[in-house]
Symmetry: C2
Subunit: 435 residues, 2 copies
């Protein structure tokens, strides 16, 4: 247990330090090689990597809509029902995010507009691994659907049978994703960013992945011939802010929910109650023993931090200093604390709001800025699947009204041609040529 007020400022910084992400030079070079290979050799190279790492017999990348739908029928009725509940909530919440175009007359005759439009082609990456992640398909696929993106491209590594999990297929179907390609890793990111014979280039790539995927996303986002990406990546994390009245079993279960994601997950409890911290620690031990992903969660919990503060206000300051991806507030009057909370990817208010709710089904997106990026990046939302652009139109009167100011400013910046573009028009207007 860390007693916050006993720490020096440097000690406080250290208590909240995240593990250093080391993108080794060798990872960087390996991924750069994969990117270059995919750019040069296209599908053949993607297939070769896929045969090597995922499915030895794969000979083509696309998974047909017919196959998607056939796989989707294999999902059990209760899982299907649960997916539908989640899908509807996520869809509702992202529909509510639809932005309004703006039209404003700033000066008589000068109309300015801001318009929103869906990105044309988005690439959604879904990692493989031991268990399927239909929730991530929804978190990426629903906003793409609601935005109205013309092309929704999903890449995910095939299993040994050259297929994908039925739950992934069903979630893709719900989101109207018709382009599914059986590939993963840096090769999938490269294929979506640069395009291959079978996968047309996309404009922006979304989704989580391992260190190869993360590095590949970063590299393609730095290239003019690549693609934009959703946000920078980092290990997942939760900070639970709890007072003495919190339920220690709930708090422990929330810390462990984070811990089971991976051995590098960060779980932090900040409380003004020593008794609550001790009770939570005991609950962690109890609950940890029963988890199927016990070894992963145990490793993550070795780095868990329990921070004792003098009062709840101080606990809020600790949370602000950390800027957690997930912030769970289990205190009396939890909602009242929101005004003082500055940075978090998503905030879970009160004891009935576990992280699991947002991870799966409440409606909010589970793709969130982590690793302190909650200070300067947004939670994933509908706007990330759209572009904003402006339109302006000056009438002859608008030019008359605004022309003199434009000319004066262009002149002050020494830009003659800018001034001239207005002067020529003003001269025409003086001649009465309004058309």
């Amino acid at each position: 247990m860390i007693n916050w007020s006993s720490l020096t400022p440097a000690g406080q910084t250290e208590a909240l330090a995240r593990p250093v992400m080391k993108n080794s030079d060798s990872l960087r070079v390996t991924v750069a090689d994969i990117l270059a290979t995919i750019r040069q050799q296209g599908d053949a190279a993607v297939l070769e990597y896929t045969r090597k790492f995922d499915c030895a017999s794969l000979n083509s990348l696309p998974l047909s809509v017919a196959k998607r739908d056939e796989l989707a029928t294999r999902v059990s009725a209760d899982v299907k029902d649960a997916l539908l509940v989640a899908f509807n909530n996520v869809k509702q919440f992202h529909e509510a995010q639809k932005p309004q175009d703006i039209t404003l007359t700033t000066t008589p005759g000068v109309v300015c507009e801001q318009r929103f439009t869906a990105l044309d082609a988005v690439g959604l990456y879904i990692p493989g691994g031991s268990a399927p992640l239909p929730s991530t398909v929804m978190m990426l696929g629903v906003p793409a659907l609601v935005a109205g993106c013309e092309r929704k491209v999903l890449c995910t590594p095939p299993n040994q049978a050259g297929e994908i999990a039925p739950e992934i297929a069903l979630a893709a179907s719900l989101c109207g994703i018709e382009e599914i390609y059986l590939c993963g890793g840096a090769q999938a990111i490269a294929a979506m960013a640069f395009g291959t014979e079978s996968i047309a280039k996309v404009d922006k790539i979304f989704g989580p992945g391992n260190s190869f995927v993360t590095e590949a996303k970063q590299q393609v986002s730095q290239r003019a011939d690549g693609a934009a990406i959703d946000m920078p990546a980092g290990p997942s994390e939760v900070l639970v802010l709890a007072d003495g009245n919190a339920n220690a079993a709930f708090v422990a279960s929330d810390l462990l929910s984070q811990a089971e994601h991976g051995p590098d997950s960060q779980a932090i409890l900040v409380s003004d109650s020593e008794a609550l911290i001790e009770a939570t620690k005991a609950q962690v031990e109890l609950q940890l023993a029963k988890l199927s992903r016990n070894s992963i969660a145990s490793r993550a919990m070795e780095n868990a931090r329990y921070i004792l503060t003098g009062n709840i206000s101080e606990a809020v300051l600790v949370s602000n200093a950390y800027a957690p991806e997930h912030l769970i507030v289990q205190t009396d009057n939890a909602r009242e604390l929101l005004t003082d909370i500055k940075y978090a990817g998503s905030i879970f208010v009160g004891q009935w709001s576990p992280e699991s709710a947002g991870d799966y089904a409440s409606g909010t997106n589970h793709v969130l800025p982590t690793y302190g990026y909650a200070r300067n990046y947004s939670s994933l939302g509908l706007l990330d699947f759209m572009r904003r652009f402006t339109v302006q139109e000056l009438s002859a009167d608008g030019m008359r009204n605004l022309g003199p100011a434009i000319m004066k400013l262009a002149s002050a910046e020494g830009l003659d041609a800018h001034e001239q573009a207005v002067a020529l028009r003003m001269a025409e207007l003086e001649k009465g040529n309004e058309q």
Copy 2:
């Protein structure tokens, strides 16, 4: 003159190709060295670079508010009036962009919110050079002001006298920018991203600059201890789409407005009228001769392209393929073409809407995605100075309603602790412990 329909697809791609941006390895290493030096040595190193490149006698970085205000009084009354006109239009248009927070009950007892909040600290970079750029101060400073960013930090290289242009000082004053530091180049970007003794770290850096600044922004945006940036950079560009009724003198002046920005500026005319193209070329020669920045504009115009299409619909396709930063439409019924135009940073509709209007005073932002990034990045706007985050709160009823679906999905993904976090709560509720 390029006859579009006579080109092969490859020829068409080549006709719209942008110059390759070569970020040389030496630039990369030089900038990385500057970044490392600023991180280690802080103010002393920033001052040393500044003395070397900008002002030999500078001994401290901040420019006081008193000095800012004193400099601002030196602006002539007519330039001040023009700046105020522009400021008010830009302010109005960015105020109109204020987003609405969302609160939605997705399932009875499950409330999801999306909230917007200003970024805390933004860094605004204003290049030095031959002429001051008060318009850029406004384009960055006004949205920061309207968003309500707590800290607005402006870095700009000092002149020989260790001061800044009065127009910059006035624009900064209008935008309520109180933190001004006399430094430029990669060292200024590093100082804002990492922080020094006198410049506290910022969350996001905005603004244009030379190749050192651009490379520095790119590098700090890739570091977890750095800062976010506004958008990727590239040479500025305009595409004018005009029919036979367009005024060739206006068209030429718009091409030249772009050309005078720099020798790497791109200017493209697409028209279905050979006569208009020829008349524009003649006008370009005439007007070019009179420009003070003739040598810069001439070099840019050497790479100008004049593309003849079979009709206006084809011209729109050419524009969509190019995805220009600035698109000027000077055709009959220009507004009707908007429905077919897919990508552009900002669109200028009709003959009274020159690029100069948006560059200075109409109200739209002049920081726009260039180099084809109009496909997947947005024009700068108020939202770039804000963050979105989500909040969710489940009541006991919300947990009852949604809990079973969450547990089912967590189980399908093999995440026991996620399931357990809900199971524990459901068990409490079954015991009647709602609190």
